[in-house]
Structures are given as structure tokens and as C-alpha cells.
């Protein structure tokens, strides 16, 4: 099977030149300012189920996104047709579209003095070894992971499969203000999803699924496939016999897999866009305690090899490490140029930009700092409560902070995980949740762009069966 999907420095240069060309074409078409993003990506997905190949998907794609300003009027367009006549037509159309917008002084391009200048930081985000993987090798890895899961425990009776996939990508950005730059990145992952038949209640047999995974920008940093499969099986078998517990208020411990989604939720209400739109319960709380003193969160785009790193932001500004929460106190929220101007301040260089839209604040590597106790000690110090391994649903209102989500996990009794729990919800106002964090473990692992250690919330309302049932 074919490989050779490498993205080279030449590719990045070629895309950067294309972005610069499109900026020039837009100016020729009458734009007062133009910003062009070009992306090139290639993907390989290899999925195995019950030992047999189920899917091999392989393709590459390119797209260009253009934003023009006519005075302070703006419009955005995108296309996958990168031939010169098509780009000329796109530029003309985008300029015509901008005439229909109303002027918005806040949308003007950033001061050229603020733009990132070469050399851009070298963040080591691309591993050629990821690009060398071919479909046959990827299928073998997936097969190995799935087989390990099925071998681990006889109660693993079925499988939703195992998937090895990789993405190689290049991003180039150029602006009429003088910025141009690009970088490439790689990302590989393996996920194994075993399935068990749960006949604990013979009248109501169920299936129980679980998963485990590994991912990295570097091939050599992936966990071995067998280990991923075994951990997936261990986690799935552990859910056999899951049941509801009675409705009660109790401590809630968040496993790192869900703790990071809580940290992601903090960003959703602590960014410049939600602030100027007043769609955050945190508006007006910068500089004030919004979480327990144990909570410190940073956004750091400059960590070499990390999944969320980037040398410049979606406005072309040089990226930097920003505090988000310091010992419980809310730092100035992450902003792109637009939202910063709306709030009357400077950008934190946190702009993200997609092919087809305006920039907005995004996170890079959003990391909650580790505490000093071990996870085991944290559990031992919890007489009873719920250890949450999965959250379900979208039950969060950013404007009020009301939080209510489905949960799955294990019941803690006398400091130990006893039996598996499912079909319950946990709820509290988000402000209370953050302030009630009373223990943070030392088990932070930087596997994902948003990462957190295990932590405990002193109490939340758990809804399950009728009280005393």
C-alpha cells in the first residue's frame, strides 16, 4: 500500500508563497487589507474489527481561506480550488461581499509592529516517521491492540474495533500588514474499543463499551499497541454490573480523562469573545478568586512537541505563555485582537483561525498544574463519593454557570473504588464546583492539548434512584 505523504519544508514554503500571492491578488482586486490562511493536510485511517480490516481511508486535501477588509468592512471566503484564475475570482467576489458589511473599526488588522517576525520559534512539531507509516503497518498496529484487548479477559466478547490514524498538516498564513509564515505538524493515535456482554441483571442484559488510547506528534512516543489494548480491556471489564446509586450530595472525584473537559469548560467562559458578548458568568471577575487556591491553569503554546503548540497565532502575533487561573484567581482572559479591542486592551496572542471564518480566542496547550498528593492518597482521603470516568451531554449554561451532566464511574467507599456506577447525573453551579476543589493529584500527563490531573470537588448533587433505594 502507498505511503509517501510527507509534508516537507518545501511544502510549507510553497503554501506560504501561495498565501502571499493571494494577499497580493486581493489587494489588486480592491481590498484595503487581506489575510490568507492556507492548509494542506493528509490523513490515513486504518480500522480493524475482530481481527479483520474494516476501513482504510487515505487522502490529502488543501484549502485556502481569505479575509478582506474594504475600509472597516470585512468578508470571509474559502475555496479548495487554488488555481490562479479561481483565486482571482474569489478575491473579486470577497471584495464585493465586504461592501455589504457594516464598518467595524475593531476588525481592522493588528498594528504591524505587533506581528511575529522571523525567525519563528522552532517547536519540533513534525515527525517524518509518522509520515512513513503505510496502511499495512497501521492495520497491524490496530490488530495488535485489539487482539491484546480480546486476549486479556474472556469477558471481552466483542469489539467496536481498533483504529490507528495519523494526520499530517501544514499551515501557512500571510497578511497585507507584512506577516508571512508557516509550519508543519504530525499527529498519530491508536484507540482500542472493546465490548462486553453484561448479564449481571439477567432480566435486562446490556452491553458495556470502553476504550483506551495513545496519541502523540511523534511515533516513538506512542504507547505500545498491546499496552493500549490491555488498558482498554481492563477499563471496559471494570464497568460490568454498573448500577445507579441513590440521589445524594457527595464528593466527586474527576479522573484526568474528564478533568480536562472541566478545564476546557473554564476556557469556554474565560475568553475575550464570551466576555465582550457578556455570555459568561465570569464577566467582571478578572483579578478575583473564581476557583479554589489549589487551581492554577496556564495556556502555553511554546512547549516543544506538544499537541497544541503553535509558533504564531491566528492574527499573526508571536505566541506566548499566558496565565488563565493563578492560585484560584482569574487572570486577564485569553483574547485575539478583535475581542481585546472590544474589551479595550491588548491581545494575549491567543487567536485561532479556521479556513472559513473570522479569528477568535482559542487555547493552545491548556494545562492545569499538578498538585502534590498521589491519586491513591487522594482516594484514600475520600470516605465515600463518586469517581467519574465519563461525562455525557451538553448540560452547561455559560451565562449562568448552571452545570448538569450525565456521569459514569465508580463508587468510592472507605477510600477505595468499590462498584461501577452509571446512569446518574452530577450537578452544581460551575462557580461552586471550581471553589469546592479541595484536592488535586500529581498525576498530570501531557497527552492532549487540554490536560489536567485527577481532582476532587468536595460536594455536588448526584441524581440517581429515589433516596434510600
Amino acid at each position: 500500500m502507498t505511503s509517501g505523504a510527507q509534508i516537507t519544508d518545501d511544502t510549507v514554503r510553497e503554501l506560504t508563497e501561495l498565501a502571499q500571492l493571494a494577499v497580493e491578488l486581493a489587494k489588486k482586486a480592491g481590498a484595503d487589507a487581506a489575510e490568507v490562511l492556507v492548509r494542506d493536510g493528509s490523513e490515513l485511517t486504518a480500522k480493524v474489527r475482530l481481527g479483520e480490516p474494516e476501513l482504510v481511508q487515505e487522502a490529502g486535501s488543501r484549502a485556502l481561506g481569505l479575509r478582506v477588509l474594504k475600509g472597516a468592512r470585512r468578508a470571509t471566503t474559502y475555496t479548495s480550488d487554488l488555481r490562479r484564475p479561481a483565486l482571482e475570482a474569489l478575491c473579486a467576489e470577497t471584495c464585493a461581499l465586504a461592501e455589504l458589511a457594516e464598518p467595524d473599526e475593531y476588525a481592522l488588522p493588528p498594528d504591524p509592529q505587533l506581528l511575529a517576525k522571523p525567525p519563528l520559534p522552532e517547536l519540533d512539531l513534525y515527525d517524518p516517521a509518522v509520515g512513513e507509516v503505510d496502511a499495512a503497518w497501521a492495520l497491524r498496529e490496530a490488530k495488535t491492540g485489539e487482539a491484546a484487548a480480546r486476549r486479556f479477559d474472556a469477558r471481552v466478547t466483542n469489539s467496536e474495533g481498533a483504529t490507528w490514524s495519523r494526520v499530517l498538516g501544514a499551515t501557512a498564513f500571510a497578511t497585507s500588514g507584512g506577516f508571512s509564515g508557516g509550519y508543519r505538524g504530525s499527529y498519530a493515535s491508536l484507540v482500542v474499543e472493546p465490548l462486553c456482554d453484561d448479564t449481571t441483571d439477567p432480566a435486562n442484559p446490556k452491553k458495556r463499551n470502553g476504550y483506551w488510547w495513545t496519541a502523540s506528534r511523534f511515533l516513538s512516543q506512542l504507547d505500545v499497541a498491546e499496552a493500549v489494548g490491555i488498558e482498554a480491556a481492563r477499563r471496559t471489564v471494570a464497568t460490568l454490573g454498573s448500577r445507579k446509586v441513590a440521589t445524594q450530595e457527595c464528593p466527586i472525584v474527576f479522573d484526568p480523562e474528564v478533568a480536562r473537559s472541566i478545564v476546557g469548560t473554564i476556557f469556554s467562559v474565560a475568553n475575550g469573545s464570551s466576555f465582550w458578548r457578556k455570555s459568561s458568568y465570569l464577566v467582571g471577575k478578572e483579578g478575583q478568586p473564581i476557583a479554589s487556591k489549589l487551581v492554577t491553569i496556564v495556556d502555553d503554546p511554546l512547549i516543544p512537541r506538544a499537541p497544541g503548540s503553535r509558533p504564531f497565532d491566528g492574527d499573526g502575533l508571536p505566541t506566548r505563555k499566558n496565565p488563565v487561573v493563578e492560585a484560584g484567581v482569574l487572570a486577564p482572559v485569553l483574547c485575539d485582537v478583535y475581542s481585546a479591542r472590544k474589551l479595550g486592551r491588548a491581545s494575549t496572542a491567543s487567536a485561532g483561525r479556521g479556513i472559513g471564518g473570522n479569528p477568535g480566542p482559542t487555547t493552545s496547550n491548556l494545562i492545569m498544574a499538578a498538585g502534590s498528593t498521589s491519586r491513591d492518597q487522594l482516594l484514600r482521603d475520600t470516605p465515600r463519593g463518586l469517581y467519574v470516568t465519563q461525562l455525557m451531554g451538553f448540560g452547561f449554561n455559560p451565562v449562568t454557570g448552571d452545570f448538569s451532566r450525565g456521569a459514569q464511574g465508580f463508587w468510592i467507599e472507605n477510600g477505595e473504588l468499590t462498584f461501577p456506577v452509571s446512569e446518574v447525573t452530577i450537578a452544581a453551579n460551575f462557580d461552586e464546583i471550581l471553589k469546592r476543589i479541595d484536592a488535586v493529584a500529581d498525576d498530570l500527563v501531557m497527552r492532549t492539548a487540554t490536560a489536567a490531573p485527577t481532582f476532587r470537588v468536595s460536594h455536588m448533587m448526584l441524581a440517581g434512584t429515589a433516596r434510600g433505594a
Binding site: 479483520e52 476501513l55 474559502y78 457578556k278 451538553f394 451565562v399 448538569s404 450525565g406 440517581g464
Partner: protein, 486 residues
């Protein structure tokens, strides 16, 4: 759609286009795809023009437009799929994609299957529009946004922020299969959304409204679908929720309002009846055909033929005509939703549910418009019958675990029912239940069946497709409500 389209909205691969694909070219590509030994192949050409408009702080802030063009090639061998795509319709690029997809069958070692001559699939027209909305001038859409904004602000002085958006696309698809089917379809879509924020003495709340479907601008001419109505609805919810109080926690009766509550059905039972999960025996509905899986009051239908509805399809993305499929009849499971692979596995006819997000993804069994049909109860009587419970009116979304059947859905507008009357508005709260268990607890069904206004998008395996849902007023005798008040 039969209208003559302006050149900019016509696919280059269609007859008369710059890179027109005829049956002969398609046959050559399919042959290349099948050469290594695959047993089936299809080509999915897609051209999509989209536009979006947004108004914030009473000003037009965003105008956007995008063009997507590409070909997806799929080859299957047994249950295995090879998939590749290209955005460049140059001949050598298309051949490369065909050969890449075909490699799934490498080492199969039998003679290539021959490609049947293409015959055009006939199907009715479920989204006739006088003219696609993309043809209408942009200023018409900006006028809609202004009307919605104005109506929301006029609703109450406590409305402090309004955002209104309009998104539209026109998608043209051309499909060829190695077993001789050819289909061509043009699919319009539009969606309007309004979000309002209300403030009163330091309290803040947001509400949203919106709708749409496979319409032209004629959508807005219908009662309650005009732009101002969507603005008023967003403002109404934001104001109503200003007084929201803590929701209760624990099991209790829940009454679901008509229309949008179909989200519960979509999660509780819909996904579990997509036949890929049952083919792989990973759904909790596996092996349940012919068995009772819901209260006898429940008849559940997935219907791709509801005219202009957001989930309607003339033809699915594998070349099978859209259909009305009964899934559960009087509580008994009678059918699954199929794609080609699962239909083959179960030895039944494809049900017209093979859908894909775009040419970049393989088709999967997906819902279209999923409904719980109406019953005999008077909706007011249903509310009156509850001593203490919850009335659910608007939803922000849901999620299901296919394997064990657990699902959640999030209420963004709900009320406490006390002694048969709606009383306090409740803060955002989640309901959690188990699909088959909750459907068995449906014990009253209203006569007021309604289809939701088209706003829903369903995600599965990373692919998003537009869907719609519908229900009457429904009473569930007990479900866990995830509030904060014991």
C-alpha cells in the same frame, strides 16, 4: 429541484460543466477502483456552495462564502471498506483516488468484478423550491437578520444583546455505483438562528430561537417561520428563564412538549436502531427484532420523505431513494435503518439511510426525520395528570451510549409541574435514562404531534448530517432529573 441555476451554482462535474463526468468516464474510474479485486465500488461527486451572514450589536459583522468540490471513491470487499478522495477533478488525480481506495482488496486474488452499465435512479422530489436561497441577493438575508434583531429587542427592554445568523448551502451530488446505479440530486438548505441575552438586576440569561429546512426564501413566508418570530422566541426564552430556580434531583415524572422533544427519541432509540451497530452486535437493540422494546403506545418512524424537512432526502448517499421506514410499531421493534453494507448483512432492501457528511467520508446508516407518532390524549390532560414533575420545552442537545443504552438530554427551558400546573421555570438541567427502559415508561401520548422547526444536526463517527425530529406531548412515568435540589 428543477429550476435553472446560475452558472456559479452549477457543479463542474454535471452535464455541460467544465469537467463533466459521463457514464463512460465513471465506468473507467470504477473499473480502476475494482481492479485489485474489490466486490463493489462507488463514486460520489459533490459540489457545495455555502454562505453565511451574522449580525451582532445591530450591525452586519460577518459575510462569508465557501466552495467545496470533490470526489470520494469507495471500494468494499466483504465487510472491509477502502476510501479515498480528491478535491482535484483532473483525470490522473481521480484515477489515483480510485486506485488508492481499491487497495483494500489487495491480495484478494480473484478476477475483477465487471462494472454494470449505469442506469439513472428515479425518485420523487421531496424539496421542491421555487428558487434556491443562494440565488436571492445577500441584502434580502441581511434584512431578515435586522428584522429578527429588531423583534427581539422590542420584546422586552431587558434584552441587552442579540445575535442573529443565517446560513445556507446548495449541494449538488452525482453518484455512480459499480452495480449500475446512477443518481443526481440538488439539495438546498437554510437555517436561521437568533440568540438573545437578557439582564435584570445583575441576573443574566440567554435564550435562542431558530429554524429552517430544505427550503428557498419561501420558508420565511410561512406562519411562525418569519424572521421576527424567531427573534421573539429567543427573547421570550431569555426573559422567562431570568426567574429560573434550582431544578430538583432524582426520579420523577417528566412531560415532554411537542416537536423538539423528539431529540429524546433520537438519542433514546434512534441511534440504537442504526443497523451498523446491530450488524456488529454492539447495540443494546441487537437481536430484538420482533420483540417489544417500548410501551405499546409507541410507534416510531424514520421518514426521509417529509417535504422540505431538514432531514429529508430524495436519494441517499449510496443511490437509494429516500423512504418512510417504520422502526417500532405499537411498541414492537420491526426494523432497523440500513446502509448498503448492513442491508446486505441482514438480507433486506436498503432503507435509504446511507448518508455521509461529504465526499471526504464513507456512508453510514443515519437517521433522517425521526418521529414518535401522535396518540389520543389531550395535551392539557397530560400536564394535569402530574402531581409533581417536570415539563420540558426546549433542549440544547443530547447524547447516547449505543452499547448500554444510557442517554442524556439537556433542557434549556423547563418548568416544574405542581398539582397539574406549570409553575416555576427551572435552571438548565440534564435528564438521564436508559433507552428501552424510558420507552417502556411512556404512559400518555398527546394528539398534538409536531415536527421540530429545522435546527438539529446529528454527529456520529465524526460526521455531521442534518436531521429533524418530531413528537406529540409525551408523559414518561419516571426518569432521573439531574438538578441540584434534593
Amino acid at each position: 429541484m428543477t429550476t435553472t441555476l446560475p452558472a456559479a451554482l452549477r457543479a463542474p462535474f454535471s452535464a455541460g460543466g467544465g469537467s463533466a463526468i459521463d457514464a463512460q468516464l465513471a465506468q473507467r474510474l470504477l473499473s480502476a477502483a475494482l481492479e485489485p479485486g474489490g466486490d463493489y465500488a462507488d463514486l460520489y461527486f459533490e459540489f457545495r456552495v455555502s454562505a453565511d451572514y451574522a449580525l451582532e450589536e445591530e450591525q452586519v459583522r460577518t459575510l462569508g462564502r465557501g466552495i467545496t468540490l470533490g470526489l470520494g471513491v469507495r471500494v468494499t470487499k466483504g465487510d472491509a471498506t477502502g476510501y479515498a478522495y480528491t478535491e482535484d477533478l483532473a483525470w490522473e488525480k481521480m484515477v489515483h483516488a480510485a486506485k488508492t481506495a481499491g487497495q483494500i482488496a489487495m491480495g484478494g486474488g480473484h478476477a475483477p468484478v465487471s462494472v454494470a452499465a449505469a442506469g439513472r435512479i428515479a425518485f420523487p422530489e421531496f424539496y421542491p423550491v421555487p428558487s434556491p436561497s443562494l440565488v436571492a441577493p445577500a441584502v434580502d438575508k441581511l434584512a431578515l437578520l435586522r428584522a429578527a434583531d429588531k423583534a427581539a429587542r422590542a420584546y422586552d427592554p431587558r434584552i441587552v444583546k442579540v445575535e442573529a445568523s443565517f446560513a445556507e448551502y446548495l449541494k449538488e451530488v452525482l453518484l455512480f455505483t459499480s452495480d449500475g446505479r446512477m443518481a443526481h440530486d440538488v439539495q438546498p438548505m437554510l437555517r436561521m438562528g437568533v440568540r438573545a441575552v437578557a439582564e435584570d438586576h445583575g441576573k443574566r440569561q440567554a435564550g435562542s430561537g431558530g429554524g429552517g429546512g430544505r427550503y428557498g426564501m419561501n420558508y420565511f413566508e410561512q406562519a411562525k417561520h418569519d424572521a421576527a418570530s424567531h427573534g421573539v422566541e429567543a427573547a421570550r426564552v431569555a426573559i422567562a428563564m431570568l426567574d429560573a430556580t434550582d431544578a430538583p434531583a432524582g426520579e420523577m415524572p417528566v412531560v415532554l412538549g411537542p416537536g423538539d422533544s423528539g431529540i429524546l427519541l433520537h438519542e433514546a432509540v434512534g441511534h440504537g436502531l442504526e443497523a451498523d451497530f446491530n450488524r456488529k452486535e454492539t447495540s443494546n437493540y441487537t437481536g430484538q427484532l420482533g420483540k417489544p422494546v417500548a410501551s405499546a403506545l409507541c410507534t416510531v418512524v424514520d421518514d426521509g420523505t417529509i417535504e422540505n424537512s431538514r432531514g429529508a432526502i430524495n436519494v441517499d448517499d449510496e443511490g437509494y431513494a429516500g423512504r418512510r421506514n417504520v422502526l417500532i410499531e405499537n411498541g414492537v421493534l420491526v426494523g432497523y435503518m440500513h446502509d448498503r453494507l448492513s442491508a446486505k448483512h441482514f438480507g433486506v432492501a436498503p432503507s435509504g439511510n446511507g448518508r455521509r457528511e461529504s465526499f471526504r467520508a464513507m456512508p453510514l446508516p443515519r437517521m433522517t426525520n425521526t418521529s414518535l407518532l401522535g396518540g389520543k390524549d389531550n395535551p392539557d390532560d397530560i400536564i394535569k395528570s402530574v402531581k409533581r414533575g417536570i415539563y420540558a420545552k426546549r433542549f440544547s442537545g443530547g447524547q447516547v451510549n449505543i452499547s448500554n443504552g444510557d442517554f442524556v438530554f439537556s433542557l434549556s427551558e423547563s418548568y416544574l409541574i405542581e398539582d397539574g400546573k406549570l409553575t416555576a421555570p427551572l435552571k438548565d438541567v440534564n435528564l438521564i435514562g436508559n433507552g428501552p427502559d424510558v420507552l417502556r415508561k411512556v404512559d400518555m401520548l398527546g394528539s398534538d404531534y409536531a415536527l421540530s422547526d429545522g435546527i438539529w444536526t446529528c454527529g456520529k463517527d465524526g460526521q455531521s448530517v442534518p436531521v429533524n425530529v418530531g413528537t406529540p406531548t409525551v408523559r414518561i412515568s419516571a426518569i432521573t432529573v439531574g438538578g441540584t435540589k434534593a
